[in-house]
Symmetry: C2
Subunit: 194 residues, 2 copies
């Protein structure tokens, strides 16, 4: 007795619809994601799309949420290496037009929509606490001066922020040079030999 949520047919059509919705979002913006366009692109019935997502808002939100989940992830290696790695991955994502479309859509809708705000928080909410722990460990090891662990969010903002600025407002391709120089500039005040 299969139910709506675990029936292979439902999973198939749902996945096809979400993939199509993401494509359409990237190609033509959020107003391009309608039940009709998604159904046509996904090769499924229009009624099926309505069954899964009663309104277009829910459809768009699911398409947005499915793509951009983990934006920063830290581990136990030296702080500078981690920052360079993470910032480079971030730059690489931002260099893809699709990421800008999706991020800008989330930012725009988050101003008015509760669900979009939730998605936005999923992207960066966890990063602060994780990185705080990373910084604390680095202070323990003597990599950074004491107090650094209280500025996790500031550090991230001063590295990722300029990347956003260059990509969003100048439309440039983000290069590794920029990433490295941003990381070093942000870290400089906390190096022990400074």
């Amino acid at each position: 007795m299969p139910r709506t949520n675990d029936d292979p047919r439902a999973l198939r059509s749902r996945a096809a619809a979400l993939a199509a919705a993401t494509e359409l979002l990237v190609e033509g913006g959020p107003e391009n994601v309608t039940h009709a366009t998604v159904a046509r692109r996904a090769g499924i019935g229009r009624a099926t799309v309505y069954r899964h997502w009663p309104d277009q808002q829910a459809l768009l939100i699911d398409a947005l949420a499915g793509d951009v989940r983990p934006l920063l992830a830290f581990d136990d290696s030296p702080v500078r290496d981690q920052l360079v790695t993470q910032a480079e991955q971030m730059a690489h994502r931002l260099n893809q037009p699709s990421a800008v479309s999706i991020l800008a859509t989330v930012i725009q809708r988050a101003e008015r929509d509760e669900d979009a705000r939730r998605i936005r928080e999923e992207m960066f909410g966890r990063a602060d606490e994780d990185f705080t722990r990373v910084l604390a460990a680095a202070v323990e090891r003597g990599e950074l001066r004491p107090g650094a662990q209280e500025h996790a969010r500031d550090l991230i903002a001063r590295i990722i922020g300029p990347l956003l600025f260059e990509r969003f407002l100048h439309g440039v391709h983000l290069e590794k040079d920029l990433v490295v120089s941003l990381v070093d500039a942000a870290l400089a005040p906390w190096l022990p030999n400074a």
Copy 2:
């Protein structure tokens, strides 16, 4: 013999439509700006809106362009003062939900639309050269170390970028403390006594 462009009636209806379009954009996003909604809000005929803007894209672009023209403007006062003032004004604008809506819309559409890219460049294109001159003058006066004038864009990115990050991705209200600390951090490497 009045023509389309200088007839007071045409100017009136055009202005009313643009004002209404901006309101609707801020309230409900770009998909909320249609010929019908604009006409109703502006109290003018639907056909009139079609007369001025044959397609919705053109209408939206004009509404976007009319609002966010001069984002940074520099003069001859000391560099740090100017940066603090400009960054504060920027923070003040970003704190208003309408600015985020409009900026995010421009960013999103600039990825695909030529006109939106033009608007984006009007916002920041001039800032680089203007600020380069400001920095050069400051170097002359001994306020900054030589070479600073070649990093105008970097400086702006390292001040405005983190503001964008905090506002766009964390949704926080931007405070003066943050602005000042960003300006000082960005300027630190170029101070003569460093």
